[in-house]
């Protein structure tokens, strides 16, 4: 089980990485805004472009925003947290000592 401090520290690191990636993506789009807008509005087979773009942004920017809230200490109630931790605990592998044979 990770402590709140460990979780927040990890989230801070992730927020910086995904934040930088997010800024880079937004900068790229708005640097070539006119070209992109017209290319994406061609329709037909170009339909895939806006859809793929929003999926990419939702992954990168979504990870950034999620980690920002965690880094700020805004997390789900412990009740919801406990449910996920319990599920995690069930999957834990058996770490008891095994009988081994040494030749």
């Amino acid at each position: 089980m990770t402590t709140v401090q460990e979780r927040r520290k990890k989230a801070k690191g992730q927020a910086i990485i995904f934040g930088a990636l997010s800024v880079a993506l937004y900068a790229a789009v708005f640097s070539f805004a006119d070209t992109m807008v017209h290319l994406f509005a061609k329709g037909g087979l170009y339909t895939a472009l806006p859809i793929a773009t929003v999926f990419l942004f939702s992954y990168v920017h979504g990870n950034f925003t999620g980690n920002v809230w965690t880094a700020l200490g805004i997390e789900a109630s412990a009740k919801a947290g406990r449910a996920t931790e319990k599920a995690g605990a069930a999957k834990r592998t058996d770490s008891r000592n095994r009988a081994t044979v040494t030749a």
């Binding site: 937004y26 708005f30 509005a41 329709g43 472009l49 939702s58 997390e75 789900a76 109630s77």
Partner: protein
């Protein structure tokens, strides 16, 4: 449709104020969506149009931000054990059929009575559905709060669940077994409403609670899956006709992804009926707002001869009220979340003190 708007007319120049406005509404809309499963579109689409964006581009760009936002919100709430994916997908597919049906109805009205007739139909649908469903949900939320905050499955849902009608479906996540023929009308109604007033969740969430028998927490989270399915399908159609302005979509998405995560976190701190309170409050304020927009369309149809200046003021008040509805919803969510966090911390501190 691709030729409907000349390319140079389709995309507006963005100002800093416009960008900030879209980011902020995106954030508040996302916050409400993450909490009640839907919301924001009713301000975003007219908001974009007030910035000069043509109607179809506003609808398409809004739709294109909706499904990734819903996806992120659904993933977050799935981690809290609140999503019934199977139910969301099945209702989502029936909702797609509802959307197609809704489009046909809109087309028929447009051909018969023109743009003003179509606007009038949308406003009447808004007012009728929101007042009827909103008051019912509000009454139920008040009753649930008075009876100790414990939600009960409605008699209607219990009765429908007991009817064995092929094909029966089992939903493990929400522990419900019900016939497909009772989930399909909920999806159809959500889709029909989405195609009419752009907010299918106002039919989908109450439908899942009162007809199928899900808890508000589960219904509002599952609605995010429905919104994802509907949003993806709708975006494919709009993008095929080249109506998505990717800049607008990405600006709203920037704000809404902050909001949707916060809204999802908020659900873990409140009692189930808080979702009903927020939903009913927003629905009723928006109903008043749309009611104020009706005289404009009646004047266009030459049914009434009111002063143009007065009608213009009513339209502005109408838009202001829609923004107010969203802000009130956000205020209730944030307040409930802050109080919930405070209460939980207090309990933790008391627990720690008693152990020491």
């Amino acid at each position: 449709m691709h030729d409907l708007l000349a390319e140079n007319l389709r995309f507006v120049d963005l100002t800093l104020v416009g960008v900030l406005f879209l980011f902020f509404v995106g954030f508040v809309g996302g916050l409400v969506s993450g909490f009640i499963g839907s919301g924001g579109a009713f301000v975003l689409t007219p908001g974009m149009m007030s910035l000069g964006v043509p109607g179809p581009v506003a609808v398409a760009s809004n739709m294109c931000h909706k499904f990734p936002k819903a996806l992120v919100g659904a993933i977050k709430r799935y981690k809290y054990g609140q999503v019934d994916i199977k139910m969301g997908l099945i209702i989502g597919v029936s909702a797609e059929i509802g959307v197609q049906l809704g489009i046909q109805i809109q087309k028929f009205i447009l051909e018969q009575w023109g743009q003003a007739g179509s606007n009038l139909y949308v406003s009447f649908a808004f007012v009728f559905v929101l007042v009827t469903v909103g008051s019912f949900v509000l009454k139920d939320a008040i009753q649930t709060k008075r009876s100790g905050g414990e939600e009960k499955v409605t008699m209607l849902a219990k009765r429908l669940q007991s009817i064995e009608l092929w094909p029966m479906m089992t939903f493990k996540a929400s522990k419900i077994r019900i016939s497909f023929w009772f989930t399909a009308p909920v999806g159809l109604a959500a889709g029909l409403l989405a195609a009419t007033i752009a907010v299918g969740g106002f039919a989908g969430v109450p439908g899942m609670i009162y007809i199928i028998g899900l808890s508000s927490l589960m219904a509002s989270a599952t609605e995010l899956v429905v919104a994802f399915v509907m949003g993806l399908g709708g975006t494919m159609v709009w993008a095929f006709y080249g109506m998505v302005d990717i800049r607008l979509t990405l600006i709203i998405l920037a704000g809404s992804l902050f909001g949707v995560q916060l809204g999802a976190i908020g659900t873990t701190y409140v009692k189930d009926y808080a979702i009903k309170f927020v939903m009913a409050t927003i629905m009723l304020i928006v109903a008043v707002s749309r009611g104020l927009a009706i005289p404009k369309y009646l004047k266009q149809l030459e049914v009434i001869g009111w002063d143009a200046g007065f009608i213009d003021i009513m339209s502005k008040v109408s838009f202001g009220l829609m923004c107010f509805a969203l802000l009130v919803g956000a205020f209730i969510i944030l307040k409930a979340m802050i109080l919930g966090r405070r209460a939980e911390r207090q309990l933790e501190m008391e627990g720690a003190a008693s152990h020491a």
